[in-house]
Amino acid sequence: MKVRIQFSKHGVMKFIGHLDIMRYFQKAMRRADVDIAYSGGYSPHQIMSFAAPLGVGLESDGEYLDIEVNSHNGAEHMKQALNAVMVDGIRILSVRMLPDQAKNAMASVAAAGYLVRFRKGYEPDFDYQGTLQDFYGQDTIPFVKQTKNSEIELNLKPAIYELEIRDEAVYMLVDASSAGNIKPSMVMEAFYRFREKDLPEFALQITRTDTYTAIEEDGIKHFIPLRDVGIAF
């Protein structure tokens, strides 16, 4: 049976990178006595897959991993058992059963929501709240992406699904699929450029609010949180 687990990552845990979070959860499954399934072969490994990797320095309320289990004592029990072995900064928020035909966490990621705040002392010296919509209203949002040997010019506009002020912070819902993934810092950098400013290093405090998959209903694309693909058990 496939299980989707949602967790949050806050505080000092934002400094633990994606690969180490994967290792952390492998050990956590053992500590919590989750009856996780193993792959075959000479060196069996836990059947576990993560949704969208979160960059070092970012916090999140919407991280997901899928696991396969041989047996269980219900979602609430699994959630409690895992929370009992978590460190400060990581909480299990939901445990759901995945329908058999559901795509795995990574493949189903379509978008992610982010709340961007400014670190103390790095607040912009321009009216960001009043001008955000001018920026978003542009037909194209150019962004120059630096790669190892070259620069690639991108248009971010089609990848930004929502952009607005929420609680004095910038909220954005952007493409997080493997094909078109963009980072919230790219949007903010483009915003600063639009205001003819440079985004200083370390200015942003970013929290991923949730990770979404896309579903089509009556020909219209909707984004729903990954947990909503799963069902209670």
Binding site: K27, R30, F202
Partner: protein, 635 residues
């Protein structure tokens, strides 16, 4: 959420910020207002190395079991953070509370290898603690050193208030009580050190003085006050079953060197290899009860979630209940998908069978440590492993599907000749030949791979070789060159890969290993000139070290290549590790006459360790056992 000593900007800038944030699974956080004594336990190297060390985990667990003590961990900031901390004057902090180390009552530093000495000064410096012990005041923590290098603490004597000689499980409670008592009586730092100096196993360097002969050797080493002991006896746990051992070791977030449950099955070694310091320091061998080990294996795996468990000891094959323990682990671990690591195992039918079950034969290699290339020289060093045993083990392994063999040797051992060195090449060749003879062509998976590695021999205190001259750097390099040439001349040279160590660091290690109090000023000088992380090839600055020696007017050769007379007073002679100097002299003479000494289980040699009234010294010996040394290699 706990606060951090470093800002986000810094943590996002440095390599591996997880080294500095604490918060790991099983790390211990206590309420500061409810404890009396704060202890910072430091391994003076980078986090990934320090976190792999079992001793710290044992002491961390023990000290935190004391309700009145909070023990936290400290590691060396890597060079990137080191520079930032200096530039921004950020004091060194402990991981759990993120509080400055300077506010602690104790700073304990484990000294596991000589090449970490400048890192010790970095720790003190970044913490804002005066480097010289005599300049410290009542507001500084008590700086206490321990670990194997504390058996010759003299090169570090100026930097430490106390050294703890021996196994840490026994005296810390008393030491901490003494500290509390002294504080309650408003006693001074000096008062505390004086009282501590009278505890068993505790050495307080500031209460001792050294005088030297004109030739630079020691004339006298003596306490300067009445009541301070002239000899410091090592501390030892006589019952290693009924003692402290962590059920919940700290689990790091990032990958560290030893990323697994470590089960110390016994302490000490019966073998008595003459170059080996650990083999003498930890005498006598004491085994842990097999039921205790089984219980801890299960608990530790459960509490950490580790996917691997490793047995730890100097020679696992000598553990009397090894088969029982390994069978139990195999049963439990296979069920739980846990890997088993069995280092330092003799290669025989049993171990090969076990390895076959727990490892991927194609991927793993088997390791022999003959240490010397010829039987003559192996007799000198008392390494009982014979060529016959190595070849038999290798043939068995080749039949079992292995095709990779690692061989460890030392160059520069006492009495070594060119012929002994050629023996390294010849033995490597014979093993390769044995592969081609044993494994038919159609079953081969390409060539076999023999990796021969040599390190340079460094005489260590409390070994029979403590009198031996060390080679010069040039001699070391000549020997490595000869080894390489001899290997190239072999028929199967294409199947043999040869690695050798750096010689410069070996020379320095030799100075620190047998150095005296005068060496401290060189360490200080080198540190001030920018030496740090000397154990790391990329950061080791040999030329700066050589300048420091010159500026301090110290002769490297005095400490390394000089032949020492049998009646010389050594800087470490005031320490008793249980093994008598007479025994070591006897062994030194037997070495020079190429005589092998039977191991502790075969026949007691009267080394002196029986005074502890425990371990192998009081086991029932089967004197009718064969007297042939049977030591094998290691997987």
């Amino acid at each position: 959420m706990n606060k951090l000593a470093l800002s986000d900007e810094i943590l996002l800038k440095v390599e591996k910020p997880a080294r500095y944030i604490g918060n790991e699974v099983n790390s211990v956080v206590k309420d500061k207002s409810k404890i009396d004594v704060r202890f910072a336990m430091c391994f003076p190297d980078v986090y990934e190395i320090g976190m792999s060390h079992l001793g710290i985990q044992i002491l961390y667990d023990m000290l935190n079991r004391f309700e009145d003590v909070w023990c936290e961990r400290v590691y060396s900031p890597w060079i990137d953070l080191d520079q930032i901390m200096r530039a921004q004057q950020i004091p060194l902090f402990a991981l759990e509370s993120q509080d400055p180390v300077k506010e602690f009552d104790f700073l304990g530093i484990t000294i596991q290898y000589e090449m970490c000495y400048t890192n010790i000064l970095q720790i003190l410096d970044l913490a804002g603690i005066p480097l010289m012990a005599e300049e410290r005041t009542d507001s500084d923590p008590i700086v206490i050193g321990g670990g194997p290098c504390a058996y010759n603490p003299e090169p570090l004597a100026d930097f430490f208030d106390l050294f703890y000689i021996g196994e840490g499980e026994t005296q810390y409670r008393e030491l901490i009580d003494l500290y509390k008592e002294n504080r309650a009586q408003s006693g001074s730092r000096r008062d505390f050190l004086r009282k501590a100096a009278k505890l068993p196993g505790i050495y307080a360097p500031s209460f001792y003085q050294v005088s030297y002969h004109a030739d630079g050797t020691i004339d006298r080493f003596y306490p300067t006050e009445e009541g301070i002991p002239a000899i410091i006896e090592k501390e030892l746990v006589s019952d290693v079953t009924d003692t402290y051992y962590p059920e919940k070791p700290v689990v790091p977030f990032i990958k560290v060197t030893q990323d697994r449950v470590v089960l110390e099955i016994q302490r000490g070694c019966i073998r008595g290899c003459r170059f080996c310091q650990a083999g003498q320091l930890y005498r006598p061998v004491r085994e842990r009860d097999v039921d205790m080990l089984k219980e801890y294996a299960v608990k530790m795996l459960k509490n950490t979630g580790h996917e691997e468990i490793s047995l730890s000891s100097l020679s696992s094959s000598d553990y009397s209940k090894l088969e029982e323990l390994v069978s139990f682990l195999m049963e439990t671990c296979t069920r739980e998908h846990v890997n088993i690591c069995l280092p330092s195992l003799r290669i025989d039918a049993f171990s090969l069978d076990v390895m076959n079950k727990v490892q991927d034969v194609k991927k793993s290699s088997l390791t022999f440590a003959p240490e010397a290339g010829s039987q003559r020289l192996r007799n000198v060093i008392n390494k009982g492993l014979t060529e016959e045993v190595i070849l038999e083990g290798a043939v068995e392994a080749f039949k079992g599907g292995w095709s990779r063999v690692k061989l460890y040797f030392m160059l520069g051992l006492p009495t070594e000749t060119e012929e002994d060195i050629r023996g390294i090449a010849e033995l490597s060749n014979k093993i390769a030949a044995a592969y081609y003879e044993t494994v038919p062509k159609q079953k081969r998976n390409g060539k076999c791979q023999i990796v021969a590695s040599t390190s340079f021999f460094i005489p260590k205190p409390f070994t029979p070789f403590q009198w031996a001259p060390q080679c010069t750097k040039e001699q070391f390099l000549d020997k490595a060159y000869l080894t390489r040439t001899a290997i190239m001349e072999q028929l199967n040279q294409k199947s043999i890969k040869y690695n050798w160590h750096e010689a410069d660091a070996s020379v320095l290690e030799g100075v620190f290993a047998r150095g005296d109090r005068r060496v401290a000023k060189v360490i200080l000088r080198a540190y001030q000139k920018g030496c740090l992380y000397d154990a790391w090839g990329e950061t080791f600055k040999n030329d700066v070290w050589l300048e420091a020696f010159k500026e301090c007017g110290l002769d490297i050769g005095f400490y390394t290549t000089r032949e020492r007379s049998l009646d010389e007073v050594f800087p470490w002679d005031f320490i008793s590790c249980g093994v008598s100097k007479e025994f070591l002299k006897r062994e030194w003479k037997r070495a020079l006459s190429e005589q092998v000494t039977p191991n502790c289980r075969m026949q007691c040699q009267g080394c002196g360790a029986a005074q502890y009234k425990c371990g192998v010294c009081f086991e029932k010996r089967n004197e009718s056992d064969s007297m042939t040394p049977t030591e094998g290699g290691a997987l």
